[in-house]
Amino acid sequence: MAKDYKLEENATGRLVPTTINGEKAVPYQGVGKYKPTGKKTAPPIATCADYPDDGNKVVGNLKTALLKAGIKDGMTISTHHHFRNGDFVTNAIFDAAAKIGVKDLRWFPSASFPCHAPIIEHLKSGVVHHIEGSMNGPLGEFASKGKMKGMGVLRSHGGRYQAVQDGEVHIDIAVIAAPTADPFGNANGLYGESACGLLGFALADSQYADRVIVVTDHLIDFPCYPWQIQGNYVDYVVVMDKIGDPEKIISGTTRITRSPDRLLIARMAAQFLRDAGIMRDGFSFQAGAGGTSLAFVDYLSRFMREANVKARFVRGGSTEFLAEMLEEGLTDYILDGQTFDLKGIESMREHPNHVDTSPFTSYNYHGKGMFATMVDAAILGATEVDVNFNGNVVSHSDGMLLHGIGGWQNTLFSGCTILTVPTFRNRIPILVDEVTTLTGPGELIDVVVTERGIAINPERKDLIKAIKGSDLPIRPITELKEEAEEICGGKPGKPNLGSRVIAAIKWVDGTVIDAVRQVLD
């Protein structure tokens, strides 16, 4: 493919494309610098006269629904990732699209997983032109090798909402896989075989897409309540035998890591919150569902009990660990963005203070505030961190695109953002001189907790002062990096990258913070 873009240096000095797949793109200008004006976008006006009075919008199958929705070449089809690696719907959509014979679709998922590897065939055959969303596993490798026709675009969960709301991405057809729905299109993720908790990642899609299709394997009589997705946005309802694999959608039990090194990191992160005085009555924090995060929650709960401290709210990624904190009274609320296990779903169903949230409430940077800035501490991971505290979550040191951004960029706005990472992993340095792909600017990353010590961003003089007197090993980040290099055998070599940009990395405000290059063999 010929290059149809120019490169320009953004505020971080990274060269980024100024057009992406033919549309204009704004280079990153700095945190809080880019403030677009004008109006948000809006979906077309609909008329009740066009919809059945009995509220029954059920049509025969996915193909029929796509045809009725007017699927055409070049359209944008959106999906959500609440089913994670157990999603059956996405592949069915593009198989149907292939049968219909349309080409050059843009797939706009909130995230992709290894189960979506079959999309590679549709990329090769031309049914799908490119992906805008995370590219994990096989899709990431396909894109990294330069095999995808168009340029990929990676956005955070909040950035995806912002892009839809601002009209940067126009969704022609949204397909919302729903564990429970009624014929009118009201839907939720709380009940049914494929229960996943909530459906917040599909909110923007329901509100702004031209056409909305709800697909379920658990159709109940009207009303389906709670209506996490409102039927008033929905055009068609399709019933499939199975929309997902329950075992891959959520885990039966979530397990704390057994790795002694990760446990050490988790304990130090929890101790940091305690010793720096962030853990105090009425505080809040956010942690994910990875093994280290769970261990962190476990240690922090212990410290909170010892100190008789209670949180006002906890943001998740909910799991049984957060649910137990709520039951025990260690927190007043769970503000949940994504539910990871059975106990989390049950808690959301049963407990009035386990509240479902969306990228709009929590992460949308072009809104009148967002929850993310109100969280006292966020505990996150990264694939690389550099000596300037810049973080990378999308690629590895070998240059391959392997992960999505998720809510990572959005949560950087917390009062104290902590990255928990090993200094190196299996001879791959994680602390480096310069991140391969810049995903989050160092000015928003406050603390890096590693197995060999804790580095505090020198800009955070308040934190440096607050942690004085603690017995935690506080060390300069350069020293930790040098120790990792000494163990691994010197400075790591760089990947052999081509000049072609295979994906653009968006910042939370829609500007381009970095570009991912093709990996040459």
């Binding site: 002694p260 299996n426 001879r427 791959i428 163990i487 691994c488 055998g489 790591p492 070599g493």
Partner: protein, 406 residues
């Protein structure tokens, strides 16, 4: 022309590699490297392999390496073993540079509450072991290494001793049973081994043979530093001879018991309650105390049973043991906590130490607390508790002068 293979056996391959080496008559070095870290360290690896081959004087060879992210010290050790297997008359050691971080010393009377066993032919756990702060780290050449891999483990353990930072933990090696264990010593003694564990020890001759061999190596290598010994008693006969074993050399600083083999030896099964080994454990404590060395308890092998470990450690403490073996880093903090003196113990110990010091200052020959006379062993135990309280942060170092005294 020789041919040899060395490397990881089984599933666990991380940070290790497989090397296949075949020496040839001509054709130069034909190196084929498949590496998980090709982008980061492929070139560095090739350079290291070429440097090694030239060090051993090998000019023509076919070398195939599957690398799973082996650290340089691992790659060096594996190459050395492959070369020595292919060309048995090569004796040179391809030594990595001795890092400053590996040169610290140990002390005869230091705490030995925890000693973490690491399989000697398995590099993955070595790098971060010291981060979990065990009192000692044992690089094991004995039971965790299969008989065919002893040579590979020896060079790996030697390289680890020269390169890996154990962050202040005592640097221990468990050698093989005597006499085979004597062959292990030249691989480890020149590389700042603080303490040698002698497994399945049954006589004071075992200890003396080790002691003599160490002295011989120290003389050759011009090493003046003491190398401490910890015999492990693992048999009925060993238990009977525990005292003579413990006093066989002034280098013995601790006496440990290994219950897995002992219970088999007396014809029974090991239980969690441990009634079958009560006699052996208490005999060992008695013998160690009589010889003036630390009595150290066996390992607790159920890694997931944290409560069981805590109970077992508290029991060991009540029997008079000063330490316990670990097979997983997660056990370390549990054991340290269990060995931590209670507030009551500390208060009592402070009183005893205080009256002892006062009596000494006043040159009194009799120490008494209230109406009770205090004998030297009681003072010694109290001093030990105070020292442990200071080490574990429960008591300030200057407690006598800063208001924490009496």
């Amino acid at each position: 022309m020789g041919k040899a293979t060395v490397g990881t056996l089984g599933e666990e391959k991380r940070v290790d590699c497989n090397i296949h080496l075949e020496t040839k008559k001509s054709g130069g070095i034909d190196l084929e490297l498949h590496s998980k870290v090709e982008v980061m360290y492929g070139d560095a690896n090739r350079e290291l392999i070429r440097e090694g081959l030239s060090f051993f004087g090998i000019k023509n060879a076919r070398v195939i390496i599957e690398d799973y992210g082996a650290y340089p010290f691992v790659l060096r050790a594996r190459l050395e073993t492959a070369v020595k297997r292919a060309v048995p008359d090569i004796n040179d050691e391809f030594l990595p540079e001795f890092r400053d971080k590996c040169l610290y010393k140990s002390l005869r009377g230091r705490f030995r509450r925890t000693r973490l066993y690491l399989p000697g032919n398995f590099p993955n756990f070595m790098i971060n072991a010291g981060l979990h702060n065990p009192d000692g780290i044992i690089l094991d050449l004995e039971d965790s290494v299969s008989p065919t891999e002893k040579d590979a483990a020896r060079s790996l353990v030697r390289n680890a001793l020269r390169v890996v930072d154990f962050y202040g933990s005592e640097r221990m090696v468990r050698i093989n049973q005597i006499p085979m264990g004597l062959e292990d010593l030249p691989w480890i003694i020149p590389h700042n081994t603080h303490l040698v564990l002698i497994p399945k020890c049954v006589s004071c001759a075992d200890v003396q043979k080790v002691d003599e061999k160490i002295e011989e190596i120290k003389k050759e290598e011009n090493i003046s530093q003491e190398v401490f010994l910890m015999p492990i008693i693992e048999s009925a006969l060993g238990v009977i001879r525990a005292y003579e074993i413990a006093s066989a050399s002034t280098n013995v600083v601790a006496l440990a018991i290994g219950l897995e083999d002992y219970t088999a030896d007396i014809g029974t099964q090991r239980t969690k309650e441990g009634r079958e080994s009560f006699f052996a454990r208490e005999s060992l404590v008695n013998a160690a105390r009589a010889a003036g060395v630390q009595p150290i308890d066996t390992v607790f092998s159920d890694v997931d049973d944290v409560e069981g470990l805590r109970k077992s450690t508290l029991e060991a403490k009540s029997l008079g043991f000063e330490g316990k073996g670990c097979i997983h880093p997660r056990q370390i903090s549990v054991i340290h906590e269990a060995f931590m003196p209670t507030e009551e113990e500390i208060e009592k110990a402070k009183k005893i130490v205080t009256v002892f010091l006062e009596a000494k200052e006043r040159k009194l020959s009799v120490v008494s607390l209230g109406s009770k006379m205090i004998d030297p062993p009681v003072v010694k135990r109290a001093e030990n508790i105070v020292r442990l309280a200071i080490k574990t942060g429960k008591l300030d170092e200057n407690w006598r002068n800063n208001g924490q005294g009496l």
